[in-house]
């Protein structure tokens, strides 16, 4: 009989890789519960980037000398890692961008401006991050297309029963959704949406900024057309992100940024575009950052994405259990088993800014704000929430400290 062992992550061992944990805040150990905003960086990534800068660095794709070759190998090696990480059919479909935001803007502009018009529908959701909401709102406005959203229910889950009536309003051309909501942690039914989008003849654009760090991703299984994510949310450096796109679509699309590197030939009257992925990579890219992104992918892949997912699942279940015991705390979003390692809540009568200020004095970093999801905040009827988010280095003791801290908040301001 086959024995299955579930991989388990050793957070204590992982914590040795992160220098921030050696620091004290106000004489207290630092509990970083804001990984959804950006993760901390392990020494492995930082060391590798330093080594790259010291021994393999110059611009890429340009010169013939040895160093240039090494730089290009490092950069293109990272592209292969990104492609493998999301199970892309080809690394030529992986475009390095500045971030998820730039990747999503790329699709909205380069695909949207040429393919949208009157009578077309652009469909987003009520829980999108502004970066997968505003570009579509803007491009819809520019092209005369209609901008619609899929609402959520009281648990923060998408109400897919509106799809039929949306389809009657016009030709659905774009469906844009995040795989994991950064505010509520909701895991969204992207496969279902992708299938529906394709029935309508629409493209499916997935914002995986909060999913890629935390769970295995397979663009072929998701059935999407574009997928965006950011290095800095998955142990890598900031300044670099990736867009995966279906080859046929990328081939047909006009470029986004124009300039060096993205051309095949230029003359006074005519310019032709470079092949994929370079057509979409104008100018000098974030070279060492892309390299570091690849190292970060190695780092989290070695821990194992299933193990990370399970670790966060345990933490979020524990945190929601503890918060449920506080009747002066309101937790937003779905039950623990249908969310990633993110918990948004409010303390009765205390604004999230004040909550996070007081928690900071306890050495606990959480985010208070609208998390770039104002339409969602409006739906929840609040102007902001406090959000705790977890990653590979988070331990249950830090959740306990959060709860202790909230008792202090309640006592001082509640």
């Amino acid at each position: 009989m086959a024995v299955t062992t579930q991989p388990k992550l050793d957070a204590q061992r992982i914590r040795a890789d992160f220098a921030y944990l050696e620091e004290l805040v106000n004489g207290k150990p630092f509990a970083y519960l804001d990984s959804a905003v950006s993760t901390q960086k392990p020494r492995q990534v930082l060391d590798a980037m330093r080594e790259f800068y010291e021994h393999s660095y110059t611009n890429v794709h340009r010169s013939v000398y040895r160093l240039a070759e090494r730089a290009t190998e490092g950069f293109e090696g990272a592209r292969q890692k990104v492609a493998a990480f999301v199970n892309a059919p080809s690394e030529r479909e992986v475009i390095f961008t500045r971030s998820s935001t730039e990747a999503l803007n790329l699709v909205a502009y380069a695909w949207g401006l040429d393919n949208l018009g009157k009578g077309d529908l652009v469909v987003v959701t009520e829980l999108e991050h502004h970066s997968n909401f505003v570009p579509w709102q803007y491009v819809a406005k520019r092209t005369g297309a209609t901008f619609r959203h899929i609402p959520i229910d009281d648990q923060g889950e998408l109400q897919l029963d509106v799809l039929d009536s949306l389809a009657r309003e016009g030709t659905v051309k774009v469906v844009a959704n995040n795989l994991v909501s950064n505010s509520l942690g909701t895991i969204n039914p992207v496969e279902k949406l992708a299938a529906w989008a394709h029935e309508q003849g629409a493209i499916m654009v997935v914002d995986a900024a909060q999913a890629a760090p935390h769970r295995p991703i397979d663009v072929q299984a998701l059935g999407c057309d574009f997928l965006a994510f950011s290095s800095h949310k998955m142990c890598g450096p900031s300044g670099v992100g990736a867009l995966w796109g279906r080859r046929e679509l990328l081939e047909e699309m006009s470029p986004f940024n124009l300039g060096g590197e993205m051309i095949r030939s230029v003359s006074i009257d005519k310019t032709t575009w470079n092949e994929l992925p370079y057509k979409f990579e104008a100018g000098t890219p974030a070279i060492a950052e892309a390299y570091g992104f690849g190292v970060a992918i190695d780092y989290i892949s070695e821990i194992g994405l299933e193990a990370i997912e399970r670790h966060e699942q345990e933490l979020v279940t524990y945190a929601m259990g503890r918060l449920a015991g506080l009747d002066w705390v309101t937790v937003y979003g779905p039950p623990a088993d249908r969310r990633a390692g993110i918990v948004s809540f409010n303390v009765d009568g205390v604004h999230p800014h004040d909550v996070s200020q007081l928690l900071d004095w306890e050495g606990i970093a959480v985010r208070g704000g609208h998390h770039c999801t104002q339409p969602l905040m409006t739906r929840l009827g609040v102007s902001a929430t406090t959000r705790a988010s977890f990653y590979v280095y988070t331990i249950p003791e830090e959740v306990d400290r959060l709860v202790d801290g909230l008792h202090k908040v309640k006592k001082s301001l509640g």
């Binding site: 106000n26 505003v134 709102q137 803007y138 406005k141 901008f147 205390v350 604004h351 999230p352 800014h353 004040d354 200020q357 007081l358 004095w361 208070g368 704000g369 609208h370 104002q374 905040m377 102007s383 902001a384 001082s412 301001l413």
Partner: protein, 144 residues
Amino acid sequence: MNEFDQLYREVILDHYKNPRNHGLLDPADARAEGQNPLCGDEITVSVRLGEGDVIEEVGFDGRGCAISQAATSMLTDLVKGKTALEVAEMPKEALLDELGIPLTPVRLKCAILGLGVIKVALHKAKGTPLPEEWGTSTRDLVLD
């Protein structure tokens, strides 16, 4: 004094829990609303002006952190009896001195939100000068 007592001085907590001049005036001679894009704090200020554009009555509404709401409450006391021009020219230090608390750059934005809003209200209604640092961006994306 510990950090809590420094930032959340008793007077701040008092203004937060019992805001002065709370509630919007209707009708009003000047009115504006503003948000802090960082955290979503919202404040609306309305003003009634008397002879010589002296502020006779002021009312505000909003939601946000203790600092933003308390600072606006204090501000409403501070501006009463001043002319529109005096408020337009009021430096943020005038309010910050009144608050008397140490503020990080992020919290500073909370503290001066209400002051910016009243300056915009007076600018719109009375054409008082509005230096760029207080201005709001134009050309919003409006969907019809």
